[in-house]
Amino acid sequence: MSHQDELYLANRFSADVDRLLEQQDRIEETPAPAEYEELLGVAERLASLDFSAGHPLHERLRRELMARYREGHERCHLRVGNWPHPRWRVALAGLAVVLLCVGLLAVYPPARALAQETWQTVLRTVQLVRALPRLTGEALAGGLATSIESPAEAAPLVDFPVRVPSYLPQDYEFKYGFVSHLPVQSVSFDYGIPYGRIVLLSSGRAISGETYRGLRVFQMRGNFPGMWPIGEAIAQEVTVGGRPALWLTGLPVVQAQASVTIRTTVKDNEEVERVVLSRQETPPEVLARTPATALMWEEGDSLLGVFDLDGRFPLEEMTRIAEGLVPISTPPPEKLPTPMPWPEITGHEIASVEEMVSSAEFSPYIFNPLPQGWRLERITAFGPSDKPLEQRYLLYYRYSEDAYIHLIEGLSVPLLSWPNYIERGGGALRHVVNGGLEVWSSDMHQWAWEDSIKESARRSELPVPDEVHAMFVRTPDGFSLELTAVDVPWDKTLTLIEHLTLAPGADPALNSRLMKGCYPCP
């Protein structure tokens, strides 16, 4: 079929599919090839596919979304368990108390005019006020916030140019950020030191003398005439990059434990306070109030601020941070790895290593000889025989030694579930033999190289919970292997890996040729 023919059929097919999806009749055209009707039949089957019908998630998620909607703002939370890198967890564990939803960063719609002092001449876009007027709780809703894990994530979420510090005090690094959309778009980035000290106050009484060290960079699209409560803070007119700015000292800041909800309340004496509540709306165990400093100024229609949450930096240092803010650079488009071929699902069992070697289009590795306690139980083959990059063999090894029976005790459902395979008293190792480098994404291989243990095999361990770990091996001929072990101690797996070798009868040069792009290989 010529390209023009294919283009014509593709366009016609798309039009027919659109009518199909709109449940309209097809328009008769010139006769199409016989397969065209078959393809439309497949499209019809796809169009009728509905996984959502009667799905309980629909109602459940609806309730959750509505509850969150009514809450008026998202929980201010840090999903420690979901953070991608273990160092975050270590840092958080060290901190115990994390930032913070800070009352001073709330912007409220004004209900009536209030004393403005002279600050309005410095900042056009907001009014700094000692206290807010009496407002309803609804009016004080802090707005919905989207947590972000890197400054780059904020840029596409807002309409103004997002800036990041080009200079930070020594050891300060990005910790957390969020984007708020109501009542006006704003972005907050929090920076801290890896192991900060903590202030723990309970009912206003210090229970620990330590202070968390944190900086917040705040940016807001400044076309909203909001009010900003600063309590008894002292305001001083200064400059940032030649622009008028305000230097505020003695700002009241609330630091709170993670996973709590922040609510704004108005007390009878018209003082506004951001009250920190747990999910059950009981006060958290940890609450810290510290005097902070802030440098605020305007550029274009944006309001910018740098907050020192425990007030430890002098004006000169804060000015240096503020003047170092630069527009965030847009990262280059991510280079996508070569799409991973999806193998068939079920595979078929083969009888022996010899059969695997004879049927494989590459040279497979096995563990030979098997150390004591191990045995090869099953080999399953996947993928078409004429496509080495899609061929896979799963070799199931079992480790059974009485000494490891206890490892199974208390095990709930294994992360990898093989019916009738994992039994009490036995461990399992799934050895996946892949046909080539392209099966995995490139970063995986980068890890394998970086975490090289010895020359004969380059490995990386990726720990996962529930007594499961995975290992990725790069062999000297550039071949890639994936090992996943269930209920087998890591040291036992390491012992096994020492026996990794080419299967008997396999061509020792074939994999190297494959890695050099020879496909198919003679």
Partner: protein, 188 residues
């Protein structure tokens, strides 16, 4: 056509009110849930994962709906851009956990809710899912945007960074692959 095959009545007005009226957001959610869920289900492995990712999509939509600008794109295109990002985020993580893939796909496909009397449909669903899973990620994405999200080729092209005619050809070829896969399966 404004970029979607099925348009919610008074959609723009509902979206405009969604930041202040829970009922408006709920109406949008009810309308789009099937299409978002189906889109996600096409692209990720396992019903439970699809549940999680779908929830993320609507959570993200909830918190950022005020930033939606109707003059830039139809709401469906905006929503499925969020869905696409959520799925891609998930897949990025999953690329590092690929050893789960086979088992999840096999075990979870049969573990989905199966009301009585829909056994044949379930079989079809599993078969079609397996066929879709045999496609490349880009092909799966386009198939999902077309048949689950119901977007026009023009909107798909904008989302995927392709030309409209390129989208049509890729879809046509992907359907042909699916036909071959399904025919091969039926023959065995």
């Amino acid at each position: 056509m404004d970029g979607t095959v099925a348009v919610l009545t008074n959609e723009l007005a509902l979206v405009a009110r969604a930041t202040a009226e829970p009922a408006a957001f709920a109406a949008i959610y009810d309308h789009y849930f099937p299409r978002v869920y189906n889109y996600v289900r096409y692209r990720v492995q396992g019903a439970e994962t699809a549940d999680d990712v779908t929830a993320q999509v609507f959570e993200r939509a909830l918190v950022s709906i005020s930033s939606y600008r109707p003059e830039r794109a139809p709401f469906a295109a905006w929503l499925f851009a969020i869905a696409r990002n959520a799925v891609n985020d998930h897949l990025r993580v999953q690329r590092r956990r690929r050893w789960l893939s086979l088992e999840v796909l096999r075990d979870r496909a049969s573990a989905e809710p199966q009301p009585e009397g829909v056994a044949i449909h379930s079989e079809t669903r599993v078969e079609l899912l397996a066929a879709v899973a045999s496609l490349s990620d880009r092909e799966r994405d386009l198939i999902a945007l077309k048949f689950a999200a119901g977007l026009t080729n023009r909107r798909i092209a904008e989302l995927a960074g392709l030309s409209e005619s390129n989208v049509g050809v890729i879809l046509y070829r992907a359907i042909r692959k699916l036909r071959d896969y399904l025919t091969g399966n039926e023959g065995t």
